[in-house]
């Protein structure tokens, strides 16, 4: 570029920032979301066709049964004379028969589940396309069978963390899972963070212009760096986690974020959340475009907090309702 640059220093400083690498697994996550949507769109078409065929079969059986009953009644009582006012008779027989056939398809659960599935709370979930899509995923339903996980995600910060690319990326790697699972590492990190943050505060406090430019978040970042460096040197941590996993944790921005971000930390402090995030299918479900909106859905949060939700999520009836 040959044009005159009036601020070469600024350009050099910007150049120094340079490009940044996306978190590991970024392309894989994007493609998982895209392929999920692609397959979901195909399945939707197939399911629609299946449902359409099933409905046609039901209607045919309904009509055949109604006709048989009508014929039987007429055979016993005699055929009515054809005349004015009798045109609606067959129609009435069909209307009467239809619910009997539909009842055969209903699988009844216990009364609490029934009550929940017929409640406004669940109706709101059914009307929320994002929440409904998320619950339709088998891995999500399976994870939500765990009462501890349901309790944990009553916290909106934890719900939001579950869909974070950072946290999902960290838990996709076995080494990082081992590191984040380690209470020793988390404890050592926290202790070192408090010390390092005090040091950074004092350091920047002496330079008002620096303090103004970097703000508190930057202090926290600097402290987080220092804390992780020291925590991984701790012999108890090394013994518990192992060299390879610690090295990976230090190098990986997703793991660093998982330790440094207050909301992520709330999430990974919970064993049920860690267990859910360790499941590949659950993480893939959380990577779907609707998962984020679903996790912010008040309707879903209310439903999950309902005491009958645990039993309902295991029921075939709820599964069938979500699949429709």
């Amino acid at each position: 570029m040959t044009e005159f640059d009036p601020h070469p220093d600024v350009s050099r400083l910007l150049d120094e920032l340079g490009p940044a690498d996306p978190p590991p697994g970024f392309a894989r996550n994007v493609m998982a979301r895209i392929l999920d949507e692609h397959h979901a769109a195909s399945k939707k078409t197939v399911r629609f066709n299946r449902e359409e065929r099933a409905m046609t079969r039901k209607v045919m059986w309904g009509l055949a049964t109604a006709a048989a009953i009508t014929l039987a009644v007429f055979a016993i009582k005699g055929f009515p004379p054809v005349g004015r006012g009798t045109e609606g008779t067959v129609g009435a027989a069909q209307k009467y028969q239809a619910p009997q056939i539909a009842d055969k398809d209903v699988v009844l659960g216990d009364s609490a589940v029934q009550e929940f599935l017929q409640s406004d709370t669940f109706e709101r979930v059914m009307k929320d396309v994002d929440a409904r899509a998320l619950l339709a995923d088998a891995s999500v339903r399976s994870a939500l069978e765990d009462a501890e996980l349901r309790k944990a995600i009553e916290d909106p910060d934890i719900r939001a963390s579950l869909t974070s690319a950072e946290l999902r990326s960290a838990f996709a790697n076995a080494d990082l899972r081992r590191a984040l699972d380690s209470a020793e590492l988390r404890r050592a990190y926290d202790a070192e963070f408090r010390k390092a943050y005090d040091v950074e505060m004092r350091k920047s406090g002496g330079d008002p212009s620096l303090r103004q430019a970097v703000d508190d978040a930057a202090l926290r970042r600097a402290a987080a760096d220092a804390a992780l460096r020291r925590a991984v040197s701790d012999s108890a941590v090394r013994q518990a986690v192992g060299e390879a996993a610690l090295r990976r944790a230090v190098e990986d921005p997703a793991a660093r974020a998982s330790l440094a971000d207050a909301n992520f930390r709330k999430a990974i402090e919970n064993a049920a959340v860690r267990k859910a995030l360790s499941n590949d299918e659950f993480r893939a479900a959380m990577a779907q475009s609707r998962a984020d909106a679903a996790m912010r859905s008040a309707a879903l949060a209310r439903a999950i907090g309902n005491p009958a939700f645990g039993a309902a999520i295991r029921s075939a009836q709820m599964r069938n309702m979500l699949a429709k």
Partner: protein, 194 residues
């Protein structure tokens, strides 16, 4: 420098990519979703960089860049093939970044390159400098931030930035000038190391 360039290409710098992009877009439109992977591979680094400089937060940048790719895929049918694909996807990304800002999500950044672990004082100073530069970028009003980020981290021409942001090239140039003036003021006294 030829006109049709993509940047941050992993091997060997800049490549002419328009024809490849269009071919991949065509395959995606024909139902081959996997063809989009090549597009993701090609642009992931530059899109993530733009998002990171716009938002100053790794997690938010990763989400914004992912959403931009997913939205681009969903809207491929609306992509006008007479335009450049990368201008189009940058526009989507910039919108995503603006939405993220509007959501008011707290931006607690993670420092670039903790790779400096265990390195001497130089690395610490460089880290401080980068933090101040990033803070100064984040302090710019959006209209200046987007042009400076696109110009410096994607190497787009004024015309290409204008195409991405729906602005005349002249406006891009003038905003860029103002953005640099503001950065120069904010970063006075801070010197880069060669």
């Amino acid at each position: 420098m030829p006109a049709n360039l993509t940047n941050f290409s992993p091997a060997g710098g800049y490549v002419d990519s328009d024809a490849d992009d269009l071919a991949l877009v065509e395959r995606c439109r024909a139902g081959d979703a996997a063809a989009f992977e090549a597009i993701v591979e090609r642009y992931q680094r530059v899109l993530f960089t733009v998002a990171l400089r716009m938002l100053g937060n790794h997690a938010a940048a990763s989400d914004a860049a992912q959403n931009a790719f997913v939205k681009a895929y969903q809207k491929l049918d609306t992509f006008d093939q007479t335009r450049r694909f990368f201008s189009w996807i940058y526009r989507i990304l910039v919108n995503e970044c603006l939405n993220t800002q509007r959501d008011g999500r707290p931006l607690e950044a993670i420092p670039p390159g903790l790779a400096a672990v265990g390195t001497p004082a130089d690395a610490f100073e460089a880290g401080e400098r980068r933090r101040r530069v990033q803070a100064a970028i984040l302090a710019l009003p959006t209209e200046y931030r987007e042009v400076i980020v696109l110009r410096h981290f994607t190497e787009l021409s004024y015309e290409e930035i204008g195409e991405a942001l729906h602005l005349p090239a002249k406006t891009v140039k003038s905003r860029l000038h103002t953005a640099k003036e503001r950065l120069a003021t904010a970063l006075r006294g801070l010197e880069s190391r060669p």
